[in-house]
């Protein structure tokens, strides 16, 4: 028998004090298998041990919340007895090691979380971060991740309807792949991941277990170093066809009413599903690994329990109704194998050929996992990065030059290179295509639709994590509102560095505090999410990047609007205040190679008023388009309103911000102040729009007209930008595909 010494503990990522805790909970020394169970269940990935104290402060309740955090996914009521079931999850570390499979299995994992709840998945969105596309490494990872997302989602037939992609060198060694999946379930059909009923059989369904992904969860909880490439066997391989069968079979089997509880085997595989189901149901579980279908020979109980092979589910079935369940899986040519049963008590007992090989209290693995209130300390550099002297940046580039450059920046440019590889029309629910501010999917058999957006600005969070997190929530909710959706729920994916470093822990604490404040103010309770820590390569952390997904409800799907201008001669109105804030802006990063300053201010009351206003204007049919201002500011927002219209231009004149001297024009056009929306409306509706804004106490100014063939932007009457729409659109639309071409075929940007 292996002696558990410090080397074994280190290999399992278990700290000495954690080992003491294990011995205490066990009442004895664990054997190696038991230690393995603890190592995966107590990993950061599964236990949230560093973030839990902070996550507890988030608002998780609301009138529409049917299921909050703690289950496979959250659920909110959308009327007519239906629920939207959704969650976001990360697959960052695997996607760095093996981009295609890492991203593909990330998609597969979150889809399982949704159908496990009894919901049919109808939409996928993703939030992706890569290094600069000017480097071969980032291009390779980007190419692989996009192909992996498409390869999995397209095959299984769930449309990828939206998302956001940001490129920044801070993610060069640590890309982020966050995937949100949303499904629809009847409220009464929601099934939970709890085991109940002593004597009820426990079934294993789906793909066979192999040695892939052993200790994947532990890997996702460690920093990268030069040896990471050697961890490839810990990345799983996805089989979307198996998952499609599993999804259809599970949704069908749940309809029989014979399923007591169900859980997918994701991170920590069989270990997680058995212990969590037992723990949630307040009962024990006894399984024999001998019955687990195996892809390889000679697998030990340790390997079987810790494998992260994909596309596997664990079901607890009502005793006496086994045949009903087996018949459904047989129809789909899937094997449902009885591997154990629910027991009295609260222990997870694992056998091999009838011999007990592990015996652990369920709760020791789950609820009793350590919770750390890790020390937090504001980084010493925090204040200095918030200082930004424009005087040092003289001379200011011309607005025209900046405009041309910004359209060509991959973060701002059209993401069609990516989303044209994603099937976004399958399912016949997609109303707003990828490339709009929010994705909009209809809810069949109802007049309603759901608007969904994922957002997060790592630069803002780096400069001020509290403010950056509030801005992320505000932007996601604003995007949803711009499609006419009333925010009803949210999910968060926290992507940070090593929490054992006090300055990273401070970022986490501040960001969670910001998310909580903004979600409360904007009525978007958090119903679930994911935490991905240790996003560091060789000691350098990514930008702190909380990604927020907001789901909004439209009572009338036909009322939704998109960012694109519709009619020549319509009025263009800016809602919100143009404050010319350049801190953390894409303008500073692109034109001055600088990430500095204070992120834009955000008054949550004004933000809420703005969102309520835009929802009302859309509901009343007053406006033709709506688009929020984010990266690249007002100028880029106006330009984006003209794209995908077939060349419908805009002519606008805005009042310049004061106190910025030679930077006044650029700050006016490219500042990234929050709480701003560009809308267009027929002249006949202009009064209604202005009056509604006045009533809502939201600043509204008519700044121009839709029309002509160019984007003509003036500040205080002076033309600052004048570009033909089709030229601007060509640059914007092809910026990414151009960088993805072989070097000799690349075009250079204009100007």
């Amino acid at each position: 028998m292996t002696v558990i010494d410090s080397a074994v503990l280190e290999r399992h990522g278990i700290k000495p004090d954690e080992y003491e805790r294990i011995q205490k909970l066990m009442g004895r020394e664990p054997n190696l298998l038991e230690l393995g169970l603890f190592s995966v269940m107590w990993s950061e990935h599964c236990s949230y041990k560093s973030s839990r104290v902070h996550l507890k402060t988030l608002p998780t309740t609301g009138a529409r919340v049917v299921q909050g955090p703690g289950e496979n996914a959250g659920a909110v009521d959308i009327g007519d007895g239906l629920c939207a079931v959704f969650k976001i999850e990360s697959h960052n570390h695997p996607s760095f090691i093996e981009p295609y499979q890492g991203a593909a299995t990330g998609v597969g994992g979150i889809i399982r979380d949704i159908f496990t709840m009894g919901a049919r998945p109808i939409a996928i969105l993703n939030a992706l971060r890569f290094g600069s596309l000017d480097t071969p490494l980032a291009r390779r990872i980007f190419e692989g991740v996009v192909a992996g997302i498409g390869g999995y989602g397209n095959s299984i037939g769930i449309p990828t309807v939206g998302g956001e992609i940001v490129f920044d060198e801070m993610y060069a060694g640590n890309p982020l792949v966050n995937v949100l999946c949303l499904g629809i379930a009847h409220r009464d059909d929601i099934i939970k991941g709890a085991a109940k009923g002593t004597g009820n059989p426990v079934y294993y369904v789906g793909a066979k277990t192999g040695r892939d992904g052993i200790h994947g969860a532990t890997m996702a909880s460690a920093e990268f170093d030069e040896k990471s490439a050697e961890k490839r066997p810990a990345v799983q391989v996805g089989d979307p066809f198996m998952e499609k069968l599993l999804m259809e079979a599970c949704l069908e089997v749940m309809k029989t009413g014979a399923v007591v509880g169900i859980q997918d085997m994701g991170a920590a595989g069989f270990t997680c599903s058995t212990s969590e189901m037992g723990s949630r149901g307040g009962c024990g579980m006894s399984v024999d690994v001998t019955y687990v279908p195996q892809r390889e020979t000679g697998m030990t109980p340790y390997e079987i329990m810790l494998s992260e092979s994909q596309e596997r589910m664990l079901l607890v079935v009502e005793r006496g109704r086994e045949h009903e369940v087996e018949a459904v899986f047989e129809k789909w040519d899937l094997h449902a194998v009885k591997v154990g049963e629910v027991t009295d008590g609260s222990r997870l007992k694992i056998h091999e050929r009838g011999t007990l090989v592990a015996d652990v209290p369920n709760r020791a693995l789950t609820d009793e996992a350590p919770v750390y209130n890790r020390p937090m300390e504001m980084p010493l550099w925090q204040k200095s990065v918030q200082e930004c002297s424009l005087a040092d940046l003289m001379p200011a580039p011309s607005a025209q030059h900046a405009f041309d450059r910004l359209l060509w920046v991959p973060t701002i440019a059209s993401k069609r290179w990516a989303y044209r590889q994603f099937d976004h029309s399958v399912g016949t629910n997609t109303i707003a295509q990828p490339g709009m501010s929010a994705a909009v999917v209809r809810v069949k058999d109802t007049p309603r639709a759901l608007a969904i957006s994922v957002d997060g600005n790592g630069r803002f969070c780096y400069l001020d994590p509290y403010q950056g997190a509030r801005l992320a929530v505000a932007e996601a909710a604003r995007n949803v509102a711009c499609a006419g959706g009333e925010p009803i729920g949210a999910t968060n994916n926290l992507n940070f560095g090593n929490p054992e470093r006090p300055e990273i822990m401070w970022q986490i604490g501040e960001a969670v505090r910001g998310i909580g404040d903004a979600c409360r103010a904007l009525n978007a309770p958090i119903t679930g999410g994911n935490v991905s820590l240790y996003n560091e390569t060789e000691g350098r952390a990514i930008f702190p990047t909380p990604v927020i997904g907001v789901v909004g409800l439209l009572e009338d799907a036909s009322k939704t609007v998109t960012r694109t201008f519709k009619t020549d001669g319509s009025a263009v109105v800016l809602l919100g205040d143009n404050l010319g804030e350049l801190g953390g802006s894409e303008y500073l990063a692109t034109m001055h190679n600088l990430v500095a300053g204070k992120p834009p201010q955000l008054d949550l009351k004004r933000e809420a008023a703005l969102q309520q206003l835009i929802i009302k204007l859309i509901r009343d049919g007053c406006i033709e388009s709506a688009h929020d201002c984010s990266e690249g500011g007002l100028a880029i927002a106006l330009a984006e309103c003209t794209f995908d219209t077939g060349g419908l231009g805009v002519s606008a004149d805005v009042t310049g911000v004061t106190g910025m001297e030679v930077f006044s024009v650029n700050a006016t056009l490219f500042g990234e102040s929050a709480s701003r929306i560009v809308v267009s409306c027929a002249s006949t509706h202009l009064d209604a729009v202005m009056n509604a804004a006045k009533e809502a106490q939201v600043t509204a100014r008519e700044i121009g007209r839709v029309g002509g063939e160019s984007i003509r932007l003036s500040v205080n009457g002076q033309v600052a930008v004048d570009t033909a729409v089709l030229d601007a659109e060509q640059a914007w639309a092809t910026a990414i595909e151009n960088r993805m071409r072989k070097p000799e075929r690349r075009e250079q940007p204009r100007s």
Binding site: G150, N154, S155, G157, P240, M242, L245, T428, T430
Partner: protein, 241 residues
């Protein structure tokens, strides 16, 4: 009339076709499991899009062995209208019910976008309600939609007027700049010599409601309703009980 929509393991547009036939066009429709052996009295059959059997061998290569395919073949032999959409088209090619083959898109990647498709012939049950040279905005979503046939076969297809849909510009011009996947002669869809079996890569069932960006595809399923109404008795009635 009644549509049968065949469900292979891995079909993913089966419900979309069912929904378009029943809820949008307003006819009867039934999903038929691939292990079934009869078409349950259907007047028209749809082989839907997806990744039947995972498409791990060649697209459509295994699905043709499904039990239901003998019934589909017999139905087609009797002149019954059969429509293969995307993966369903690939199944028809593998089953030899349509000539030619699909290879990887010329630009290698999966392509998902709305494209203009020109209707070449209106004397098939799935284009009977179209105007000649009508341009339809239809979504494509495939990795292997690059149609190939040997030169003599291609020539025969053209001379027999078996090319039913071609990728085109919005104005109806045909050329390589509007060909999204490298298909020979910009072929998006073809029919058999008897003209009752039609396969196409674009998805008309996904473009049957304006809310979804285009309702142009509706005419494809509406065509078969019109064609069957004009032609009586229906093929199922000719089968001895």
């Amino acid at each position: 009339m009644k549509f049968a929509v065949v469900v292979f393991p891995g079909s993913n547009s089966d419900y979309d076709a069912f929904y378009a036939a029943s809820r949008v066009v307003g006819e009867q429709a039934e999903l038929i499991w691939h292990k079934d052996t009869d078409l349950k009295g259907a007047d028209a059959v749809i082989l839907p899009g997806g990744f039947a059997h995972g498409d791990y061998l060649r697209t459509g290569a295994i699905a043709r062995f499904s039990p239901i395919m003998s019934a589909v073949q017999a139905f087609a032999d009797r002149g019954g209208p059969v429509l293969g959409i995307c993966n369903g088209f690939q199944v028809l090619l593998e089953a030899g019910m349509l000539p030619g083959a699909m290879v990887r898109n010329d630009r290698v990647k999966f392509v998902s976008r709305l494209v203009p498709v020109r209707v070449e012939q209106t004397d098939t049950p799935f284009t009977a309600a179209c105007a000649s040279k009508q341009v339809l905005q239809l979504p494509i979503a495939h990795g292997e939609g690059n149609y190939y046939a040997p030169p003599d076969q291609l020539e025969q297809l053209e001379s027999n007027r078996q090319v039913i849909f071609r990728y085109a510009s919005a104005a109806g011009e045909v050329g390589s700049e509007w060909n999204p996947n490298g298909s020979l002669n910009s072929i998006a869809g073809i029919c058999n010599r008897q003209r009752n079996v039609v396969g196409l890569m674009p998805h008309p069932e996904r473009a049957s409601e304006l809310m979804l960006g285009s309702a142009d595809g509706r005419v494809v399923l509406a065509s078969v309703v019109k064609a069957l109404a004009a032609q009586a008795p229906s093929p199922k009635a000719q089968v001895p009980a």
